[in-house]
Structure formats: C-alpha cells, structure tokens
Amino acid sequence: MIGELTNKYLRMDRLPHMWCPGCGHGIALGALLRAFDRVKIDKDKTVILSGIGCASRAVGYLDFSTVHTTHGRALAFATGLRLLRDDVKVIVIMGDGDALAIGGNHFIHACRRNIDITAIVLNNQIYGMTGGQSSPTTPQSRLSTTTPYGNFARAFDFCNLAIGAGATYVARATAYHASLMTELYANAIKHHGFSFVETFTQCPVNYGRRNKFPDPASMLQYMKDISVPFKVAQNMGSDELQGKIVIGELIKEKEDVELNEVVRERIMKFRGGAQ
C-alpha cells in the first residue's frame, strides 16, 4: 500500500527524507498520501505550499507543483495563488512555529477569509529545524533551548484560536492516530472553504530528548494517553480536560460563504456586463 502511494505521490529519487529517525512529520506525510489516495487527488491540479522548518520540508518530496515559501508566510502566498485559480486544490503544510509564531497573523486571517485552502499544521511543540527552541505551543514548564528553566509562557490552543478567528473546518489528530489523521486530511481537502487540521507530531531529537522521553515510541504512547475524542470531551469538565488533547472534528460548518466564490461572482458580474 504505502509503497504504491510513495511511488505515485513522492519523488522517490529524493528519498530517504531528511527527517531524523522517529520524526513524527514522516507519519503525517504518510497519512497525507493515504488521504490523497482517498480523495483521488489530481497531481497536476494541486499545488502544495509550505513555510520554513522541518515540517515544511515535506514539499521537497511531494511530486506536485510545490512552493517552499518564506518562514510563516505560506498561507499568504497560497491566498494569492488560489484567488483566481478555481481549478486547483491548494494545500499548505506548516510547522507550529511557522504557522503560529511568525505566521500567526496570516493564519487567523486565512481562517477569517474562509478561502478554499487546506492548512495542515504539524505541531511538534518545538522549533525543530533551528535546534529546539520553544514555540507558542510548547506546554508550560517544558524544557527547550530557550526555556532552560522550563517554559513559563502559556501555550496557544491552536484549534480554539482557529475557531475564535472564524474557521469553518477545524480538526485535530496526533501522530499516534495515523488513521484518524488520514480521515481528517481527506475531509479537510474535501471541505469547501478554509480547513485546518492540527496534527501533533513528535520531535524526538529536539523535544523528546530534553523532556525525558526515552524514544519516539514513548512520545506516541504519551499522545495516545492524553488524547480524548471530541465526542467524549463534550461531556467532560474543563478541569478534567486539563492537559488533554481533544481529537477529531471540532468544527465543520457548511453554510458559510467561501471567499473565492465571491470573487468569482464579482468578476462574472462584470464580465457578464461587459460581453
């Protein structure tokens, strides 16, 4: 199965990839390939963009039209790319630092605009690429190279932020939940409007090592342990949910107007008028 998919969707000549042993980004990439297969993606009519970071290096392996943009700006590039191109699917892959530290503004504005883009954030709660500095999702008291005494800043709840910003599809999975991930990716790609899937991944080298996870598997195990399906979470109090990750589809709206549609409508109006 995966062999077929990698042959189909990846640039085999560029593998093995550059990610460290046990890096969760690879698991997410695998799930994305399965989702591609499920939605029967058209390689020639899909553009995949990313920012800068380990997560963003994914585009270097995908046999698509790919754009490796600047740090934090992938969604802004994607917005411009998508606006006049109703014929392409646009998928954006980012890291947590990429999407929420330097790229936070573009993220909330993409949510607001409800433009038809699928954003996948591989949240390893750390800056992997630059060697393990804290990110806006690093949990409190965790160690990183810039929080040597434990992180004292509060972390974002990525999905809550997206919801607050008005996103119409918000979902979450972890690297442990590889098949849920596949399903969410597929649904996100099918969603009409802006869709966002947060994916917890493990960075054994720059997060795990410093935070007493003996190996990548133990990080997956931890994700499994703290995950709660959305349906279950709805019947839990906020105290109970402390320290937990809620997984599944958190928001899935249908009615809202997608940005491109309005743009197209406007153009059509004038064109109609002109011709």
């Binding site: 199965m1 062999g3 042993p21 046990g22 890096c23 698991i27 695998g30 799930a31 442990y176």
Partner: protein
C-alpha cells in the same frame, strides 16, 4: 484493513532509520532491531496484518506486501 493472509511485512533497509516505533507498537511482537539498528521481521507468519507498523513508520520503510514480492 483487510486481513489478507497472502500479505507479509517487509522492511526496506535503505529507508529504515531504526526509530523503533513499529517495533514498540506491533501487537504481534514480531519486529526487532538487527545489529545495525534497522528493523527486522522475526516471524512474518504471526503477523496479524493490522497495518500499524506501516501506518506509523515515519520513513515508509515497512510495508505489507504480497508474499514473495519482497523488494
């Protein structure tokens, strides 16, 4: 996941980085490290075809393939 009995797990040693994830989560306990810390299948017959290894391998290095089709 179909539990087709004609499938067996095969490791692509060129891709395997020895992270141990598949080994840890294989419910049949049939995966282990070899001397060079790459994944090895000890007893393919015991495989229950749950695909957990394939889905969680970050390196596309383990796969359930038609028996004998070992790459």
């Amino acid at each position: 996941m179909s539990q087709s009995s004609h499938l067996e797990p095969v490791v692509n040693r060129a891709f395997c980085k020895g992270c141990g994830i598949c080994i840890e989560f294989c419910p049949a306990n049939i995966l282990e490290f070899d001397e060079q810390r790459k994944c090895r299948v000890t007893d393919p017959e015991k495989c229950i075809k749950c695909y957990q290894c394939e889905m969680r391998c970050p390196d596309f290095a383990i796969e359930l393939v038609e028996k004998g089709e070992k790459k």
